[in-house]
Symmetry: C2
Subunit: 350 residues, 2 copies
DNA sequence: ATTTTTTCCGTTACCGTGCACGAATCGTAA
DNA sequence: TTACGATTCGTGCACGGTAACGGAAAAAAT
């Protein structure tokens, strides 16, 4: 308890017969301290269990420190917007400890714009960086620069298998696919399922849905080896085509009644679903976008699996702040967020 | 941004032609300030957008402030233990803002012990109190005393319909029953379900399972009006009887294959379930106790609905701290936690 | 008008750290 | 021994706010 008066630098100075200036030098590993004094101070610090007073420290130190958060520009209704509240909470947390959080946005389909955002962040000489590694190569280059300058960084969403990162906050992607399959089939015998996929020209971006699909396929293979998985491709840039494709597919495969989608755009198929309420499709998608939630509420979508992007960013900023201010290395390096199962009956509380 | 130098009380003193002492008095509503000066200071504070520096404040203020958390003694493996990590996180948060969190425990079946804990807390002259209102009457009396002393309090878990509380953090209990029914039936036609209930001599305690049962019954009535709900009573204090009761019931009701339980003790029936793996019961319970989780992993329990008791306490302590330190009144007074649906495939990430 | 009381306000000494400045001490070479 | 640079260390102010102390001004009482 705090019954005993808190130990201060002055106490240590007195105990060692040195001055607070010297104690301060030891505490910050600054040069100009003899080995003997250094050892003496360290010993007393340990014996007395000294803990610095952060208020006093923050008050006396007037360097502006900033954490850079580099992420795709949040378009309204899209995935990255979900991380917003988490960033705000992180900002508040960091602010209480004297650190500003600044965001650097880029176009998630434009590698150059990503590079620009990174450089912009670097120019601020940040005390730490949070980013999802959207473009593999550019991220590697950027992270190397950070390492040169001793700037810690934390990955969110996905991570790179480099080992310089301080922490990672994301979802267990493979398992999310596995979970998706278990919900879709509800563990009851299943012969055919449809997976709606998105046709896209690759840009060297990391694509978490690949991993997720593996988990899905594995679950199906393990539990229902005879189940057939149909792949249906749609193109979000040609919304007018989608309905036709779906109509066509489900007309020729009338026995398929379970539908999954591995990205956040399950809402794309709701118009189709709404035209076939009698079919009672079982539909599982990902992420609690507003459009997805409304499909959930109306009963078109059965379940959504949500990954708390906000918690990811909050966790990342908090971990970075703790490291910068207190020197605390995160006890867990790879942090997996819970996968929330949302149905129409619990969605409104998320 | 913080480009412009932060406004300090010295700035305000200069602007108003008064001294920092007076400004300080105004800021804390202390007496001894003329109306004229008061108004002048308030105006300048507003004009310049002054925000106090909490570090300096915390540093200069040497009063020990404490938040009292009054809750049942956490027995290992029982419900209240789940709130522990949340209290710890809250403690850390509060600590960063110069507030200590102290717990006061009592026996959850003993009203006198609850009263003693309350008085003990009161004797510390706390700056705020967090408590689940376990005993209605005693809580009312206690809360009245708090109000007399202007001590804010926050309810967790359940709330009383008094209106003196600062905030409430809990789960939507009725809806949790509704959700439970929807998961148990998976929206497919159902004729019979079993609800395992606990026989207990009432002690004037609040019993959230009543409300939950209502939600459950309503869902069933709305969706499957012909479904029969069997009530099976067991007594946790006579564990040796439980198996016999269950065997007996399910022998005479062989068509019942869906089981729900509204308290946190679904684990009580796993021995029975394990002896009948061929029946493939669909089982839904509440709360992620260690014992429940292991039943989930082994496949005996289908789903658990968890209510994040830790988040409740964290939220409560945070809200109280924000109120005490910054005077912030919570933007949302009644805060409902998400109801997490846990299955064997996502449970390990909670 | 003078004294007493009350109201109002400025001054000042902190709180615990950070850091710049300059002084003391040490080692080494002339 | 003296001189001189390099180390090592102590001193003191600053950070922004708090609150006790006591003095000045205003109001009330004599």
């Amino acid at each position: 308890m705090d019954k005993t008066q808190k130990i201060t630098i002055k106490d240590i100075a007195r105990q060692t017969g040195l001055s607070k200036g010297t104690v301060d030098r030891v505490l910050h590993n600054r040069e100009g301290v003899s080995k003997k004094s250094y050892a003496k101070v360290m010993k007393v610090i340990k014996d007395l269990g000294y803990e610095p007073n952060i208020y006093a420290s923050l008050l006396a130190k007037h360097t502006e420190r900033v954490i850079a958060v580099i992420l795709p520009r949040c378009k309204s209704g899209e995935f990255w917007e979900l991380s917003d509240p988490g960033i705000e909470r992180g900002k508040e947390f960091a602010h209480n400890l004297g650190i500003n959080v600044r965001r650097f946005n880029y176009d998630q389909y434009d590698e150059n714009s990503f590079r620009r955002a990174c450089n912009e962040a670097l120019a601020m000489d940040p005390a730490g960086v949070v980013l999802p590694p959207m473009f593999r190569n550019e991220t590697m280059i950027f992270v190397d620069k950070l390492r040169d300058r001793d700037i810690p960084h934390v990955y969110v969403d996905t991570k790179l298998e480099t080992n310089g990162y301080l922490a990672y906050f994301g979802m267990p992607i493979y398992q999310s696919g596995y979970l998706c399959a278990s919900i879709l089939t509800d563990d009851t015998p299943t012969n055919e399922v449809a997976v709606i996929r998105i046709q896209r020209d690759k840009h060297g971006q990391s694509d978490p849905t690949i991993n997720r699909r593996e988990g899905f396929n594995d679950y199906i293979a393990e539990h229902f080896p005879n189940c057939r998985i149909h792949n249906v491709f749609i193109n979000p840039n040609r919304p007018e085509e989608i309905d036709g494709i779906l109509e066509e597919f489900f007309r020729s495969n009338p026995r398929v009644s379970q539908i999954a989608m591995f990205n956040s755009r399950i809402y794309l198929i709701t118009p189709f679903l709404e035209r076939h309420p009698e079919k009672k499709y079982r539909v599982v998608g990902f992420d609690n976008l507003a459009a997805n939630l409304s499909a959930l509420r109306s009963g078109m979508v059965t379940s959504l699996i949500a990954q708390r992007p906000d918690e990811q960013f909050y966790g990342a900023i908090k971990a970075l702040t703790d490291f910068i201010v207190f020197g605390k290395v995160p006890s867990i390096r790879d942090n997996f967020m819970p996968m929330d199962i949302l149905t129409r009956y619990n969605a409104e509380y998320y």
